[in-house]
């Protein structure tokens, strides 16, 4: 039992803040007191009261962790749909007249005190008969009296305690995972049992070298035969089924040679036993099935883990601006909840279904439907996830939780074809012909040995079919890619699909977008030069800039925020011309903010820095100038990439400002183009590609979406802004920028690892087959070698992916 001395809430021990007795968060004030204990919110207080009244305060003594702050149940009707009988039938795993059972997924479960509390639910609601947690799967099993409580009440109780069940995930957990998992275990167990016993029964024959009593020998053979039947029919059944399905689809799959060799071995053994000429090879046959099943089991588990990592753990680094009581803050998308008020600016994507509260919405659903004509949406109507706002700032209320899988799907939908790289295709071609080659080879050697030594011929036939391992050829690419993508995810880089790894490795020319990519709005020094603005004008400029997601607008907006300049809310006719500027009308004043050319300012050549001019009612008030603000680690990254032989170009939407500074980073020979419109950027990339170059565009995904799309690889750098775009193939967290050179280098290793493991498995196949062709290998050895080779390939690929990552100083585990 963990004895623990908790921080007493009154003792003010480590900090000046008073910590909440329940959840351990800082309390906003000292007001919320119950039972002489401080609480941060009413929710925590309510949970404490409930636990206290039921004598469950032992919860706080169990572990060094605190409770979960419950989401206050704002809307009591949230779980009303659980009253519906058909919904209940879907969710409940069992029910009769009195009792009902349910298995719920509780993602918030995190420590042993959670387990303790959740397994004492019967104290809080006497109608709950028992509750049992599964910590690894983060799920709970609850049995309750149907007549005294309802599913809704149970779920609401959990939600009040801070463990809101994840109801949309329930079916996936229940139906798929458990059933298939267990049947494989059963097959494996039966195969192992029979295999062991057949082995034992074969020992006398191997050891006695002919001195064995005839009657006993007969008995042993018959027992072995009896034991081999469940192995062949039950455990090995799936190989035959899969081979047959393959044949029906006119496809020679990997299970075909395997089933063929099983059938031959079994037939030959039966013949030998019945005719009394020998004891057959039933031990080998059972062994083949047993080891094959082990191999498949490991393969499935590894694949499932990697897949799970990708689908559920790797949240893209997208942030969303949420209006909280204390103001607008940026939070990761994964933390967004139903009911949140979110702020969407021009060019941003709506991450979840939401209701429009204010602003003028022109939503471009091209991401979802392919129709790019923006739709006008009235205040109060629903906007669906995946739409992109094209005009001004919106405030929305989220009505559905964000679904990572939905966004991933949207992202993956484009360029489905490009999924498989050349390497993948090559591997699949080889695998397809491999089976045919194998069948020819085995029957060839069978007929070769047949005239001289029939036994040797059969041996060769069966061992060739068993020992050959086309799956290790297939696995090398799949597993390497999965392992590398998982490492990349942990380092803040998210790939659309695995085929991109190879494409990135082929890149020779990198085109950099300047603003927001190699510069960061966070590191920028902003100054205003010109006629000093009145308070109202400042407010107006701030308001207009806050509508836009452009890095420079953000910098200006930040500049005003720091100076405590507010925002006025009445904005009309907001327009954003990509690469030029923004304009809007506020209480009759026309505010235009943008580059010198667009606003018709004269002396643009003299610019030494990036300037954004402000024009109010046709009068130029002055300009904002921006300091360098290059990203940390830019120099090192560029130098590393240069030594690897990459060529660079720089494209920028601004005037030739900072050209000298950029030269210092990029060198004299790098082509730099300034004042590019989004369309010119796209054209530039197209020209490079027409010259046969493999181009990667690194941009911020906002005003260079076209260029990202046009390039072989579009690599979006994501600051804490919502710039999720279908055009990008890769999304990188901006804080990973320093590691970028290592990451690109690492991706290059994907191909090397695949090739290495491919050669390894090819060598294995060549050696195995050449021994098998001579009829020298025992089927039993073949049966061990084959799954061993699959497992060794899995180990080789995943561990080398991790080792290379370590060498490159990249993260291999999450936090």
């Amino acid at each position: 039992m963990t004895l623990f001395t908790p921080t007493h809430p009154h003792s003010h021990s480590h900090s000046h803040f008073i910590l909440c007795f329940h959840c351990g968060e800082k309390c906003p004030d000292n007001e919320n007191i119950f039972d002489e204990k401080h609480f941060c919110c009413d929710g925590c207080k309510a949970v404490y009261r409930m636990l206290n009244e039921n004598g469950l305060c032992g919860y706080y003594e169990i572990d060094d962790s605190k409770g979960i702050s419950p989401k206050l149940v704002k809307n009591d009707e949230r779980f009303a749909y659980l009253e519906d009988i058909s919904t209940q039938n879907n969710i409940l795993t069992f029910q009769n007249e009195e009792e009902a059972h349910v298995q719920l997924s509780l993602p918030q479960m995190h420590c042993s005190s959670c387990v303790w509390l959740l397994e004492h639910l019967y104290k809080l609601n006497p109608a709950i008969l028992r509750s049992q947690t599964d910590f690894i799967r983060k799920s709970i099993f609850i049995a309750f009296k149907k007549n005294e409580t309802s599913l809704r009440q149970v779920v609401e109780l959990l939600a009040t305690l801070g463990y809101e069940p994840d109801l949309k995930y329930i079916h996936a957990v229940k139906k798929e995972e458990q059933k298939t998992d267990r049947s494989r275990i059963y097959r494996l167990t039966v195969a192992g049992f029979c295999f062991g016993n057949i082995m034992l029964l074969s020992f006398p024959e191997y050891l006695s070298s002919g001195y064995i009593d005839h009657g006993m020998n007969k008995l042993f053979s018959i027992l072995s035969l009896g034991l081999s039947l469940p192995v062949l029919i039950y455990s090995g059944g799936e190989f035959f089924v899969s081979a047959w399905q393959g044949l029906r689809a006119k496809f020679l799959n990997i299970d075909l040679p395997l089933s063929l060799s099983l059938a031959i071995t079994f037939g030959r053994s039966v013949y030998e036993i019945v005719s009394g000429t020998g004891n057959g090879y039933l031990d080998s046959m059972a062994g083949i099935i047993f080891f094959m099943l082990i191999g498949r089991y490991f393969q499935d588990r590894t694949q499932a883990n990697l897949q799970f990592d990708r689908d559920f753990k790797s949240f893209f680094p997208i942030s969303i601006r949420v209006r909280k009581e204390e103001g607008i803050t940026s939070i990761p998308l994964s933390k967004m909840e139903k009911g949140d008020r979110i702020i969407i600016r021009s060019q941003e994507l709506i991450p979840a279904d939401a209701i429009l509260m204010s602003g003028s919405a022109r939503i471009d659903y091209s991401f979802v439907t392919g129709e790019s004509k923006p739709e006008h949406v009235e205040v109060g109507s629903l906007i669906y996830a995946g739409g992109r706002q094209t005009a001004g700032q919106l405030e929305l209320e989220v009505v559905k939780e964000v679904e990572q899988s939905y966004l991933t799907k949207l992202w993956n939908r484009e360029n489905q074809k490009s999924y498989a790289g050349d390497m993948d295709n090559m591997v699949h071609r080889i695998a397809r012909h491999f089976t045919l080659f194998l069948l020819l080879l085995s029957f060839g050697s069978f007929f070769y040995w047949l005239p001289t030594d029939m036994g040797r011929g059969v041996h060769a036939l069966t061992t060739i079919l068993i020992v050959a391992c086309p799956c290790s050829l297939l696995l090398s690419a799949t597993f390497t890619h999965a392992a590398i993508i998982s490492v990349l995810g942990k380092n803040g880089v998210f790939l659309k699909n695995a085929g991109l790894l190879e494409k990135i490795a082929n890149i020779r020319h990198i085109v950099w977008d300047k603003t927001g990519t190699i510069t960061s709005s966070k590191n920028t020094n902003v100054h205003f030069e010109g006629i000093s603005l009145t308070e109202k004008e400042k407010q107006n400029v701030h308001s207009v800039c806050s509508q836009s997601n452009h890095p420079l607008s953000q910098s200006i907006s930040q500049y005003f925020s720091v100076k405590n300049i507010g925002i006025s809310h009445v904005i009309a006719d907001y327009q954003e011309l990509p690469g030029q500027g923004i304009s809007a009308r506020l209480e009759g004043d026309l505010i235009e903010i943008g580059n010198a050319q667009w606003l018709g300012v004269g002396d643009i050549i003299a610019d030494k820095d990036t300037r954004v001019y402000v024009k109010i009612n046709d009068e130029i008030k002055g300009y904002f100038s921006f300091g360098t603000g290059f990203r940390v680690g830019l120099k090192a990254t560029l130098e590393k990439l240069k030594t690897k032989g990459y060529r660079f170009s720089v494209l920028s939407g601004d005037k030739s400002a900072k050209a000298q500074d950029l030269r210092a980073y990029f060198g004299e020979d790098t082509p730099m183009h300034f004042g590019c419109s989004p369309h010119e950027k796209q054209d530039y990339i197209e020209k490079l590609r027409q010259n046969g170059e493999e181009v990667m565009m690194i941009g911020d995904g906002l005003n260079d979406a076209g260029a990202l799309m046009q390039s072989n690889i579009g690599w979006a750098v994501s600051e804490d802004i919502n710039n999720f775009t279908p055009a990008s193939d890769v999304i990188m967290e901006s804080k990973s920028f320093e590691k970028m050179a290592s990451l690109i280098d690492y991706i290059g290793y994907a191909k090397k690892i695949v090739i290495a493991s491919f050669i390894l498995s090819l060598m294995y196949n060549v050696v195995g087959l050449s021994i098998a062709v001579q009829g020298q290998m025992s089927p039993f050895i073949a049966a061990i070698l084959m799954p061993a080779s699959s497992i060794s390939i899995i180990l080789f690929t995943t561990s080398s992916a991790r080792i290379v990552a370590r060498i490159k100083a990249l993260r291999t585990s999450s936090i």
């Binding site: 908790p6 004598g55 003594e61 387990v115 947690t133 599964d134 167990t189 039966v190 008995l219």
Partner: protein
């Protein structure tokens, strides 16, 4: 040597018994979660406490 017949006659049913026991256990989900039970057995039963007057006993040690 006839002892072998008896031994086999016994050993295979015994082994089969264990197989069935294992399958039964697996089917009941005994191998689904190998972590939570290790926490569960460490938990004390709640101390008998009176409902109203437990604020002092609940102050942590």
């Amino acid at each position: 040597m006839s002892a072998i017949y008896i031994l086999i006659g016994i050993s295979i049913p015994v082994a089969a018994g264990f197989l069935i026991a294992f399958l039964y256990a697996a089917k009941n989900g005994q191998f689904d979660d190998d972590y939570t039970p290790s926490i569960r057995m460490l938990m004390d039963d709640p101390k008998p406490e009176t409902k109203s007057d437990n604020t002092t006993t609940n102050q942590k040690v």
